[in-house]
Amino acid sequence: MTQAMQRAEPAPREVPPSPGNEHIVEAMNRRYDAGFVTDIETDSLPPGLNEGVVRWISERKGEPAWMTEWRLAAYRHWLTMIAPEWAKLRIGPIDFQTISYYSAPKAKYKSLADVPKELIDTYDKLGVPLHERAKLAGVAVDAVFDSVSVGTTFQKELADVGVIFCSMSEAIRSHPELVRQYLGSVVPTADNYFAALNSAVFSDGSFVFIPKGVRCPMELSTYFRINAGHTGQFERTLIIAEEGASVSYLEGCTAPMRDENQLHAAVVELVALDDANIKYSTVQNWYPGDENGVGGIYNFVTKRGDCRGARSKIVWTQVETGSAITWKYPSCVLRGDDSVGEFHSVALTHHHQQADTGTKMIHIGRNTKSKIIAKGISAGRSQNSYRGLVKIEKGASGARNYTQCDSLLIGKQCGAHTFPYIEVKNPGAIVEHEATTSKISDDQMFYCRSRGIAEEDAVSLIVDGFCKQVFRELPMEFAVEAKKLLDLSLEGAVG
């Protein structure tokens, strides 16, 4: 689908505005709480990309030769590819030679106990506890700072039940057979432009392996932080759930406020074997740029889950509030009979943010089922698009899909768009798609206010209600964070 994207069209001509809900829009100021920079000595590559850089990264991480070759093959293929033309995104060309492909804190940490206080404090400030106290939260965390993982909590407790949760670098060293078997098996290196780039230069990420029959005893979580300037973050995450295994994985992301655009091009691969269950939740709050559209992260991510086994299930849930540009379609390949894919999404854009996000549900096995719930909220001068593909292949008899996309507009200068693609080749399948676009109704606002709720709180209340279906899918701690994020984004909404 991404290959087929059209060139950006000029905006339609404007007809004179009518009086409307400017009062809601007016003072819509956004605060970005995660915008600080951590002062720590780093080890960075100078900007630029060539085979030497790819080799350097691989060597630096002490990777085996097959891994170096894998990266180089991806790099050479990337050179033959053309950067995609964006459908609805306005984006200047990216100069890949001005980006640094590696940045890491200088010191190496043997265990979490060695991690310096500045770093621990950084994550603490972001609400991600890495120290002992973390145990109370009952969530194991892998913290990725710029290009590397700085530490993973609860590793021992997880190892006791056979669960492997570590950084990708460590997995390549300690579990090469698993990495070799699964890496690139869901998102091939040549899949798309940014996936190829990621395959060549990825620096770290999380690795999760849940062995047969094991229900992971706690939530696993990775917290991604871009800190250094002029760097790109290219993480790679691989989650494997063997037969009958289940896991819930959470991911959070932030970056400092800088007036440059930084590139984040991640690849996430999920593999679910027979009866396995993977729940992958994201709260994405990369720096969105300022109110004039200066700076912010380019978030170009390839996320795909492979329901390889019968009766397997993969659920993607995402709350996207950050990034200058978001381009991601967490997808499910429903290969196993009776497998299930779900996608629940809230995407909020404001100021000059652009989001083009959605999912692909590829039904291959019999009686496969998918559900898509996408909620888009556009404010300011932002553009927010849902783009999704539901494909029913010939053999997918009994396949079912239900899709619901709702868009909410706050203000007159933003756009909300819906681009579903429905392709059905099996006459035993049923596919249903519904979409609506509206603004917060004046009636709803007045109703809330006449009960004593101030305008700003009423907006937040109604938006929260609009997103409720998706928030319900998030683990409790994340649901709270997600709601706070939305409130923050809508703070000062009315004057």
Binding site: Q3, A4, M5, Q6, A11, P12, R13, E14, V15, P16, P17, S18, G20, N21, R366, N367, I392, K394, A396, S397, G398, A399, S407, L409, I410, G411, K412, Q413, C414, G415, A416, H417, T418, F419, P420, Y421, I422, E423, V424, K425, N426, P427, G428, A429, I430, V431, E432, H433, E434, A435, T436, T437, S438, K439
Partner: protein
Amino acid sequence: MATGFLEPLIAEGATLAGGQAGWLGRVRANALAQLARDGMPAARSEAWKYTSLRALAQRAYQRGDSDAAGRSIDAGLLALPGVDGPRLVFVNGAFRADLSRIEPIDGLQLHTLSQVLESDADSLQGPLSRSFDDAADVFARLNTALAGDGPVIRVAAGRRDLPLVHLVLIGAAASTELAWHLRGIIEVGEGAALRVVEHHVGESGQAHFGNLLTQIAVAAGGRLDLLQVQNSSESASLFRRSEARLAADAQLEMRSIEAGTAWLRHDLAVTLAGDRSRFVSRGVFALRGRQHADTRLDVRHAARDTACDIVWRGVADQRSRGVFHGAITVNPGADGSDAQLSNKNLLLSAQAEIDSQPVLEIYADEVKAAHGATVGQLDEQALFYLRSRGLSAQQARSLLTLAFCRIAFDSIENTALREHVDALLLERLPEEVEEFASEGAPA
């Protein structure tokens, strides 16, 4: 890059444009230059995502039919029950005065493009100067370069209660495969009202490529009801583009019944340019064999309080493929827009395919916009109900399938015409539908 399909047509177009001066010559030359430069749309063209042009690009057609004037046409072919008013008939792209019926009616002009180009060419400069700058519009460019004739229908301001105008486009058998290009103009004056049937028929076996581009303008407070009954030969190919621009308080109601052709592409582009203008579209395609039909709607709300109401149904059987693209754009400031689109499809065979792509692009906030699309099968409960009342499974399926399609034309007031369309579709519905629903259903 020219191809087997384009090359001879471009060459003939060049001969045609050679002697032409003035604006029309420039318009045609420009279209030819664009065609020569861009050729056929690239395989990745989003507008042609579900319709491959590869096979067509390799076929060569002869432009125009030099024998068109003398071909004998069975009167039954062009008859349409309930329709006996003025008639304009084109055979293989050539106007046939002998088959047409043009009586003088106050306020209604029925002409051909070639007549108007001779008598009052400047009155056509506006619509004919339309330039297609997207390489995806290859057939519209061809039409611009090559169409020398077509129907011109104009209604004077305030004229209403006019008889139904019957426009017939016939594909007649010929010794070679032909490509014909017609340009239609329909202009409805202020406060006027007009009803038109655009009727495509063909002698069986002919495999011509037809290209009809119709430009519609409805002035303030005017209304056009356009019924498209497309029952061309099942081996013919047809590209049809219907473009409309509606002024304030204007209304366009279209009903499109697509039954014939091996290959069909219908572009339907409507701009709601005036406040409170309204577009209603009902359509259905019923496909079998290896038929391929691609309907591409593009509605733009460019003024306040405009409305569109779109309901399309699709049925694909055997090895056919049905494509529906329905895009609605609401421009910035087009407050009060109300946009509704529904597309439902029945997929009846394991070798058939349905692709549906409803699109909303919204740049204004005072809007009500919604779309829905489904692909599925007949309701098992309804089937059971009918069978429990004594119908055979096959009868029940045909009946329900017809009912499913009927939404496209059940509001046609002309009973004879409505029943004709009904019969046309019923005849095309599968006689023996395999029982797919039970095949893959969970136990």
